[in-house]
Symmetry: D2
Subunit: 384 residues, 4 copies
């Protein structure tokens, strides 16, 4: 097993590698409230280690700057006032250089700290901190795409980025799963988030689930059939969302002189119809399934069948609302704010995406977003 | 069994009896988008019978006024343009007298129509129409309370209204329910809404559920303990709702010179601490349960235990999001817009309330509202 | 000269005559914040006499209802909390009948009061109160038109209403006015509002002003020439207003199957091209003038030339912002809130309209509205 | 007289000197819609010369980047689509380095262009462009202050910045000006904006005007007397502004542990009571004057007296709305959008401020802002 200090270095380094292609200015802006400036991610993930490990457990540790708590706290009400999420993009200071110094300072302290004896409690916090940073790595990817993809110059993130593609299965027929009792939730010793705990039985009716994700080509058929103009496909709230926001296609799609383009990490490109569809909201995923007279799987159906198909390219919207598992309890203190307080009016996504950090995904992993959000690498898998 | 034409008369009459204590002006206003003017309910329920029964099935029927479709359509996109929900309170015409004439006209036509032979399809539509009107009877009660209870003069709806109270059980200890498979959903021949169909098995862990609802006194303890000021009790979205709207107590509660009052159908009254709590949002129900270190039951836990306690006084918030049962399918046409399109970002309530029409409730009935709404007779039953 | 008590009866009666064609429901609604429900006008004008005359000066007077101050206060911060303007349409109580009783009660008390000796101070207040009620008579006309004209059934206010028309002058050439010093502001003993006081000299350059108002036909040419689509005609703020509100024509104009209709007190009618244009905002008046390569007169130019043309059919937008005359001072107390506090970001209108109360207008009268408002009988007179 | 090419270099250099103390990140953010990112000012002023001079008049000029028109157009509808003002802060590209290259590119081309023969028309455009850039220099100062002054770290712009102070007059009594005719507006050959043209006579009543500006100390007395809590001091619209925005003091003032601080270019400082008050809105200027039972001067009173006091430290709010002078005509084309389209719902400011570019002010200069804005170096001079 990898040493904790090596794992720490590896994860921390990866965050910076993700940002390597950026210009200083790209680190600063926040085009919508859901997107955070990259420099904020860099600071916030360091603040997490400083606040929850160095300050309480590393004797003699000197805080880098006592005002950074104010700036880099995300949403941890326990730990004090925070910069309102929509204001993050208004902060030119601390500068990007300041924040890289902050990272270095924290990393050096952590390096020293990890040479010493580490209690099991702190090890747990460390692993949580590393998983937390991996979550922000994925957010960084999505936020950077949003920042560059909404610039009228459409700059590429990297000309070399290659999007990984799922293996094509020999048989694309829907997989049949039998009725019965299935066990759901995390099992074993490995790390998981608190929302996966409470392994429990669920009773599933017989169902079928597709071994493949929906492609751009398939979704284009929905568009061309007037899918966005027919209220019958949509939830009432989804229909309001479409009309109020004039939604006509997934995020990053542009129709120019009759041809469809989409913005990718390589810049603005002609839409590749064979690519796996991405950047759809739950409303769109539901509407597409309704138009096909099919449906999305529940998160339990997904988990029970996940060993039968190749997943990990798109976060897959499910028919399940984000709710606690039986026996769910919040951890005490700030760590307890991690998951439970979001368990209302959000929808569960299962799987992982092409920009999920390596080793971060699990079959029991529960991601969750509001039903209107498109900026993650979301996708659609059908069931019936 | 009661004759359909008698049932029709009984239901239609009850709607008008609910409105009997109103002044003409009370029929007209719409203080918030969720509340409809009483005259709109009177017109809309008549429009339902005219549109779905008389016009398609009663040969030679002459529409009362072809502009009424525009005014009284609620949300049935299939049937044509509708008056936007927030504009209903801006319409002084048709007048209340016009609408009572419309009701009379429709009722006379229905009377003649029901003398003839009625096909099973139409019978089904009739029963749906009557249940639909009973739903609007409950909305009328809630909307009238809102209209009068938000008037600075606090006029009483009726000095004689007596609020029914649940029987006090011999034993108020939590009821224990065993782990296992339970069947959920409507069974048998009686009427139910499409969202109750698809009787299916669920697997429940062992749980306990309270035989009694939370009282004003118990909820006051939460308020007095600073429950509305402590973010730890709340969902993140609930905490935003509390702060943005300066929520300090359930709807209709007023603190005047240190004493708590609440508005009831009898006018503004000193709060009775023994009364069953009502007019709380899901956010408040969840926060109260969290403060007690307990939780709300899921809708499945509720249904599996409902024969063990006296329900029917409050719509009871559950931990379950409003989602389709396995095998749920929308009916074709306008009737299909009834339920399915609301299955996102709402929470299920179970039971029935003191103003639910007699005979309208069922153990499998699934009511649903957005998580911030307080204007219905909602309540809290705890589980663990 | 007319006796004060007769004048009182005459003015009070006229208010009720304006409302005579209304149904009870028409008294209640408030489709936009700028429009008040007719019943509110009826109550507010009575409240004015009760508050400023009966309560301070009529010994032994018993207030009708001490809660009415809360409901019928308009915007007089001095006199206590008021119902927020946008909430007036949510109040079903007091009922219309209650308010007519209130009027009768106040009128009876005033009748007795006016039998006694009246001091000059009170006489002044009386005259202010009557002028205040006449202002609300005009508002009643405009608000009733808005309420009925925005109902999808387009009910007529009265089939017999005849719109008065200005005399056509023998010569429609622009009137030339010489450069020089002119005196502006109220002179003499008659009543005027405080904003007309401070007769003072202004220096005017030579100018020309039209003896006639713009007609529907002339404004149609602006529309047909793409006037609403060309930013060059508009103020930047006006251009935003046009685009944000999708304004395409004056208020009450509807294009149906290629023909232009407008809503009048007689119901929806084919547009009469010869009629004097009305229901345009200042933004539209300015844009029309700019499109003609002309301009609006200033309020000083208007006043200096007003004896040379037939005015009194439209409130005429001027190029002047609403500002204090030299030496303007606010009266002390609540009466001082009448005019001065509105002297920012509003534009002056001169003249009077077809629904101004008889005898209410004056050549020095200064009306004022925000630049986006269309619901009054506004019009356009050009200058150069 | 200074050569045009030298003047060009001097002005362009000064813009960059203003930005010299900034970090790259400071160039990017836009905390409110009224503040533009410094990099936008740098680009926009260059775009002005490229668009209005180089492209039409410098044969063979190659546009630097044809997408820059989209990004750096401000509000010139004539010249094409523009980036919406509130979105400027979401653009990380072009980078600051890109924009400095753009400036250099344009400056080199201008340098060559200015070696040739320049027509009078182009000279006029040049002078307009330089005055335009000087206006943006002042905006840069104000916007930079806003960006740094709203950062929770309160970084100083420069530790060496010294705020210039007006000379204290021997006699601070109000200056008396006699009744009569005065001439207003630009005279002579020098440059002025179109809104100053049309020198014309105005008739002024006798008035008195203060030779000094209001100080922090004097304004503190207004605050301490409850000036922000008493509606009597305020316009109705100002009172709404105060309450809606919880305004308690001028912009940049902070009360910390009972003491008043304000943010200056040197960082957060204890408030100096002797300093000239700044960063007040028109609403505040009006309220302060009302509280003193005085008033603001009109712009005509200001201009007629301006040779009698030391001005140029604060833009001084006047009682005059921003309206056209007699005979005002818009220039044709994009240049005509400069001033006229803003002549509604804004108030005139006279004078100049401590950050106005040297030589940019004039006694006839008319600045104008919306009545709620505080971010400029505004001040108060009283009249009676």
């Amino acid at each position: 097993m990898i040493k904790l200090s090596d794992k720490y270095k590896e994860v921390r380094k990866r965050t910076e590698q993700i940002c390597a292609p950026l210009q200083t200015e790209d680190y600063v802006v926040q085009p919508i409230a859901d997107v955070s400036p990259p420099k904020w991610h860099l600071g916030h993930t360091s603040w997490f280690f400083e606040t929850f490990i160095l300050k309480p457990y590393f004797m003699g540790y000197q805080e880098f700057d006592d005002q950074y708590n104010f700036v880099f706290n995300s949403y941890y009400e326990t730990v004090g006032t925070r910069v309102i999420r929509t204001d993050r993009g208004n902060l030119s200071r601390p500068t990007v250089a300041d924040i890289y110094q902050y990272r270095e300072y924290v990393d050096e302290a952590m390096d020293k700290f990890l040479c010493g004896e580490i209690s099991d409690d702190v090890k747990e916090l460390m692993i949580l901190g590393l998983n937390h940073e991996e979550q922000h790595q994925e957010l960084l990817y999505a936020d950077i795409k949003y920042i560059l993809g909404h610039n009228p110059l459409f700059p590429a993130y990297s000309k070399d980025y290659i999007s990984p593609k799922p293996a094509e299965p020999a048989n694309t027929s829907f997989i049949k799963i039998e009725e019965g009792i299935y066990e759901i939730g995390h099992r074993g010793d490995g790390f998981c988030f608190d929302n996966e705990l409470g392994r429990h039985k669920v009773y599933l009716n017989a169902y079928e689930i597709s071994p493949v994700l929906v492609t751009n080509q398939e979704y284009l058929e929905f568009i061309n059939d007037g899918g966005y103009q027919n209220f019958r496909n949509w939830h009432a709230e989804g229909w309001d969302w479409v009309n109020k926001n004039h939604v006509l296609a997934p995020l990053y799609w542009h129709q120019i002189n009759g041809a469809w383009y989409n913005y990718t990490y390589n810049g603005l490109q002609l839409l590749n119809p064979k690519d796996t569809l991405t950047h759809v909201s739950y409303f769109e995923a539901y509407a597409y399934a309704a138009w096909k007279s099919l449906r999305l799987p529940t998160e339990f159906e997904w988990e029970a069948a996940a060993n039968k198909f190749d997943w990990g390219y798109r976060w897959e919207w499910t028919e399940s609302a984000y709710l606690p598992y039986p026996g769910f309890v919040k951890a005490p203190g700030a760590i307890g704010e991690y998951n439970g307080k979001f368990m209302v009016n959000q929808q569960v996504l299962r799987g992982a995406s092409e920009v999920t950090s390596p080793g971060h995904g699990r079959v029991t992993y529960r991601n969750f977003f509001q039903t209107n959000l498109q900026w993650q690498f979301t996708g659609i898998r059908l069931a019936k």
